[in-house]
Symmetry: C3
Subunit: 412 residues, 3 copies
Amino acid sequence: MAIGAIDCHSHVPAGSPHARTLGDLLGYHYYTELAHSAGMPAEAVDSQRPEMARVPEMVSRLGTIDNTVQYSWLMEAARELFAFRTDTLTPENWTELAQAVTEADKQEGRYRSVLAKARLEKVFLTNAFDEDLADVDRSVFVPCLRTDDLVFGLASGGVRHRLAMKTGVEVDTAGDLQEAVNRLFQYFAQQGAASAAISLPPDFEPVVPDETAAGKALGRAAKGRRLSAGEGRALAAYAFDLVAGACSRFAKPLQLMIGVLRNVYPAGVEGGRDLLSKRGSLVQYADLFRRYPEVTFTVSVLSMTWAHELATFAWIFPNVCPSGHWWYANAPVHIAQELRGRLEATPKVKLIGYYSDMYKVEFGLPKFNMYRRVLARVLAEEFVEPGRMSERQALETARLLLRGNPRRIFGV
Amino acid sequence: MAIGAIDCHSHVPAGSPHARTLGDLLGYHYYTELAHSAGMPAEAVDSQRPEMARVPEMVSRLGTIDNTVQYSWLMEAARELFAFRTDTLTPENWTELAQAVTEADKQEGRYRSVLAKARLEKVFLTNAFDEDLADVDRSVFVPCLRTDDLVFGLASGGVRHRLAMKTGVEVDTAGDLQEAVNRLFQYFAQQGAASAAISLPPDFEPVVPDETAAGKALGRAAKGRRLSAGEGRALAAYAFDLVAGACSRFAKPLQLMIGVLRNVYPAGVEGGRDLLSKRGSLVQYADLFRRYPEVTFTVSVLSMTWAHELATFAWIFPNVCPSGHWWYANAPVHIAQELRGRLEATPKVKLIGYYSDMYKVEFGLPKFNMYRRVLARVLAEEFVEPGRMSERQALETARLLLRGNPRRIFGV
Amino acid sequence: MAIGAIDCHSHVPAGSPHARTLGDLLGYHYYTELAHSAGMPAEAVDSQRPEMARVPEMVSRLGTIDNTVQYSWLMEAARELFAFRTDTLTPENWTELAQAVTEADKQEGRYRSVLAKARLEKVFLTNAFDEDLADVDRSVFVPCLRTDDLVFGLASGGVRHRLAMKTGVEVDTAGDLQEAVNRLFQYFAQQGAASAAISLPPDFEPVVPDETAAGKALGRAAKGRRLSAGEGRALAAYAFDLVAGACSRFAKPLQLMIGVLRNVYPAGVEGGRDLLSKRGSLVQYADLFRRYPEVTFTVSVLSMTWAHELATFAWIFPNVCPSGHWWYANAPVHIAQELRGRLEATPKVKLIGYYSDMYKVEFGLPKFNMYRRVLARVLAEEFVEPGRMSERQALETARLLLRGNPRRIFGV
């Protein structure tokens, strides 16, 4: 039986964790963006269009992307979770799967049985800072504070308003922001949150913050003025440092997801507009890792050109743990390469093997199974066969990466 | 039998497509530059020296480079196209091969039989903008407009003179250049050209053109003045944009070959002086891809550090198609890595598998066969064995990459 | 029997080349830094602590890093050189190995028998410029001048004092420095040194030196003034050029080890504070390679993002030879990738397969054996199986990389 796992990063909505329709599966941005890349107009899957128009459109496009690993996730989920017995999804057979999804939705505790089948013991959420966590099902879900808006969104009146509503603090000064961030962490810690998380552009530098400059920027923003690039950077660096400081005080790991460029292709489908860049270097984070030795940073990088740096920084810095294989790096060829680099030269107790990044629990099964297969193959071919590990040691290592390490590192 | 293929990028001269002597094979820059790198003086293969001196010199050096994939191309061509039965080419046996090449040259339609044996249905040329295309053998060759000189050479009086001779337009203003480029595209389109192509340095940025600045630069160049770096950039950006615009109007794909540094080693042999750099990022092209959504950009990158970016940009941008494995990336280890990255996460209908970049048709056979072997192995080991494709699907995918996609994308 | 090898880069101390205690093995920075990274306080292995406290501390931590290739080196050395029969080193059994090390230390000519078992015919040292080489055992060791201090340390009074003591030249001017460097090379050449070596940060540019600026900087340094960043760069570029010039006059290869960032993690254990960066490009060295065509540069790069550039520069520049797999690139996954890239497209006569970088001779055996295994697998799977080499050719290639090329290139 597959080794049980902890999924330390997902975007599953606590209130609607499983797919209720086939559209919920085919609406995953991987499918819509790949189909669009292969020629489907973006409008064809506009959320304004009725699902009954979008689904057959998507199905008709699958033949252009059936080579991708993402397509294989869909078919493995269909087979394992919906007893779909055909190898391909076509205009002729999709209604059968659609019906199976609708049927399954009626099952009591559907998402829990899906997670059990995927052997996922816990799934972390990525919660907006003003999300209400009261009703989250703690038997399987673990809250996690998403801090993107706090760090990069403070120039927006909307974000500051949401922050004031949630924390009771009107953020006009640097001190206000510190207080607001503190209250958010208090709430999230009380609610059992296991970590904070943030995605970062490739050129971000978490420099020592300048409180005065950040305060000025906040003051200008509060008056509705636009921030210059320099003011924006000063504010982001300050807010980021507040987040890191709060992680220190509340003893929570900070998940750094480094390297995304937002909205590179604005004409794309929803969720399919961001890309990566090979620019930048993990050296930008060295000073952060030195300033906060007591904070565990679990780090994912989006560009494969950063993979070697990540493995070596984790080799040297006690507080840096490589985490999973993120988004554009989440394909077997890249996973195998990152995994070998980490397994060969980083302490095994620091490696967080994988997370799903999924939006619906159904994708946890094929994604984690893909990872389990790559892990099994790397351990077999590179460790057991050359005599560097026994089979027992290889299994124990697999258990650490899938389950033991995330449990210990995140305290779940 | 090998799957038939379209070769969408070569430097085969339409008037002399096949090797007439062994010197034509051994004079390929791969052999002369590798032999020079291993110790042969560059002068030993100077084109001023008689071929009967150059050939034995080259043969005597092959033992230093017989590990390379380039050497294996030579020996496979010798075996398959000239019935050469020995595994190595030596001072003792080379005259036998030399004679076979000379004999083969006498065959009627030699280049067509070579291409047939290589299972190459069409071979694209890379034509200078002032080349006469009237006599090109359209049964196998497809013209393609090389635009390097148009974009980067306009400061040269020689280039502007050739342009005036070909188009009838003396290029003194931005408007003149637009007219000249338009006439070139008209001619090439009439002659059945399938695309334009350009090679680009790693730091090139195809920014929104500044027509005024470009016009000033052209005016200065027309007066014989040297252009500053900034003027050169403004002119190149403008000319590049004209090319992209013409591709749009004439509905031709633009082949971008990104990352070459010219003349890094000026003391090298002819054709063996250029190198690559890992600097730069495909992000430099994002704005171009956004500005011309109707133009298909088939993209090759020279540095392996760009490979992941290319696969992801093709994953998101509908008008970006990864194309082949170029020059310094054209070895099995790099091909396998780029290929897996593309096959696992880019729509299969967008992948142009391979092109030869050859100067004589003989090299099409071993180069495409090398690619076919890498492709077969990747499909077998990473797709069929793990159950992600049936054998039938794998074969169909191979056919798309070798033949179907270039046919559809270039309209041949 | 394993193919004999030349080890062209190590840090073995000529006066104490083999391990006298288990602490000498477990004190290797790989073990202390990995154990620290996995949670051991740096103080636990502070050199002030008695070895009898450090060794059991280290042993108790090995379970956290037993996945690493570094751990496998330790266990292979224990098995092959100390007849240690258990697969793991534990609090229960370590005294047995400790005793075996102490026993072995008593053997006459211990280091020579260790090297013989490793099939290492010669081991290069890395000597400080003021080291006395008279007593070096020339039957196995080859001196090599380390020039880091000469290039990057001249602002320090201590370094200039050591230089004056060794050469008799007080270095106050550019001319003084030239004379001092010349005398050092004379001494090292007389003592049979085979090369000079230097490690370099990723942003270093060996530009054409400015003698006036360097002289001014030296003058300021001689007066005890701090150098600005620009002065430091001018001085380093000048001193580096003197080293390259001396390599030319004395016909010695220069070992360039590119890409290390010093002291990125100052709180780390001794020897475990440096890291790498993916920044920079080998293009920075193109002008150097052009200026000194008569000097052989054997080049290692620390970041895997530089690997492709290195292979291609060695493909084109006759005086650039790729050398081994350095430090953070010295794990099977990276070795295999660099090796394939080099073997497929660089003349085989230019490839220096491997060096140990070791501090005690015991590590030569497992490190070179690791390399031999990777080399055997790459040759078998990528060259012999696909028919690109016969078994005989593969063996001959392996002999060149391990032994023939370093012998010829370094003249030993």
